[in-house]
């Protein structure tokens, strides 16, 4: 059961699969069955770009159980395109140098490794860079 819970989310976590509403064009990550904008139910699949910019951030010093060994670590809300945002860790960065507006790239990384049944969980993390 537990591995199904992880596997189920892999299109989003591994490929940044999102859904674009055919009614109003709004993009949702993760995909939804009903559009928040126009309540439409028809969507097309699209992939988000693997880059964005930091809207806000924090450095976690007191971590929850699966992340205790990683602290301190930075978490940011990243806007990857107009209006499409996600929350993820920002790594390989000087924690003092993070700032709002910073350009980042998203990379495929290990997120958690010490779940009770030992399944490794992968997904996206941000690193400094981007902005061609």
């Amino acid at each position: 059961m537990f591995s199904a819970k992880i596997w189920r989310e892999s299109p989003q976590r591994y490929r940044l699969e999102a859904a674009k509403c055919l009614g109003c064009g709004k993009v949702f990550f993760p995909p939804r069955l009903v559009c928040l904008g126009c309540r439409g139910r028809e969507f097309e699949k699209r992939f988000l770009p693997w880059r964005g910019r930091v809207l806000t951030f924090t450095v976690i010093h007191t971590a929850p159980t699966p992340f205790v060994d990683m602290a301190p670590y930075c978490i940011a809300i990243v806007e990857v395109e107009e209006g499409v945002r996600l929350t993820c860790q920002l790594v390989d960065v000087d924690l003092e140098a993070v700032e709002i507006g910073m350009e980042v790239e998203l990379e495929f990384r290990r997120i958690q490794s010490n779940q009770s049944d030992g399944v490794l969980c992968y997904g996206y993390k941000a690193v400094p860079g981007g902005g061609e």
């Binding site: 989310e9 806000t56 924090t58 699966p66 993820c88």
Partner: protein, 385 residues
Amino acid sequence: MRDVAVIGVGMIKWGERWESSLRDLFVEAALAALDDCGLDRVDALYVGSMSPGLFTGQEHIGALFADYLGLAHLPATRVESACASGGLAFRQAFLEVSSGLSEIVLAAGVEKMTDVDGAEATYVLSTAADQEYESFHGITFPGLYALIARDYMHRYGLTREQLAAVAIKNHAHGSHNPFAQFPRKIDLETVLNSPMVADPLRLMDCSPITDGAAAVVLCPLERARELGKKKPVKVLGSGQASDTMALHHREDFCYFRSTAEAAKRAFEMAKIERERVDFLEVHDCFTIAEICVLESLGFFERGKAGSAAQEGITALDGKLPVNPSGGLKSKGHPVGATGVAQIVELVHQLRGEAGERQVKGAKVGLAQNMGGTGASSVVHILEGC
């Protein structure tokens, strides 16, 4: 819909109550509320609790609590809306009496949080965020509110000292509350030198981990003097609303739309303007939360509540006292109990029995209770009779 009154309130000492179990906490508060109005039984029971299952392993607490209160066989319901569970339990009880379905209903809130260690408690609380798209990445509740605080500081120039002023003010209020977990004053240095939890929020920006419970008894207003012993307090308005679960899906991280909508509905039901409200109990789970809530409730313009505590506006003797009980910061935050304890404080204030923390001339009070980063909110307006 008929008018409803609160006729009994019960509050117990909050803190690390290692000697008391989940059910003990509930029964102690429920008996205090029943004794306060002189009643021995009720027609129905609602209890708000965020996660007794993860904190203690116990689910099915509606039936458990009715059993241990000696009132098995009555309709007993648990409601859950993360940290707004207590406010929601009160609203359900209000609706049940208002609808005419029941005459006397007990609304309680409880959380037993110290049967797990700090990291586990942080994890349990994080289940109130989006599990797959927030918590999965290692964000915590202090972390989510730190994201809000960073954004607010960036946009409105809020200073670290102004944030600290919220905690200092609420501890000053809480120093007069015998039920509070930390009934003592703190100073600026204490806040600024406390350990970093989630930058820019330090330990003294955060409400603590608490064992606690609170309970109130409701009945139809027209029967309040017959059934109760003390001055009844009328429920003028009740409002509830939700918002996107994930913080990152909000257009504005610093504005709690659920709080704004819940307040709009509560004021519409109460048929009063904001000027009539004499004091507020709001959900200061973190210092930044009180600031954003005051703006979302419509008592301050956007970006203007940041200096309210520092300027004394929200102090006990200020123009608009906020959290005379000490708030979540000083009183403690047993998450499911908090919303009910806010109602208890409103009643104490509106009866004029709040002692040294009494808001002078308090006639109308407002309580705002919030779940997650504001994915759910409940607002109540009460008036002394």
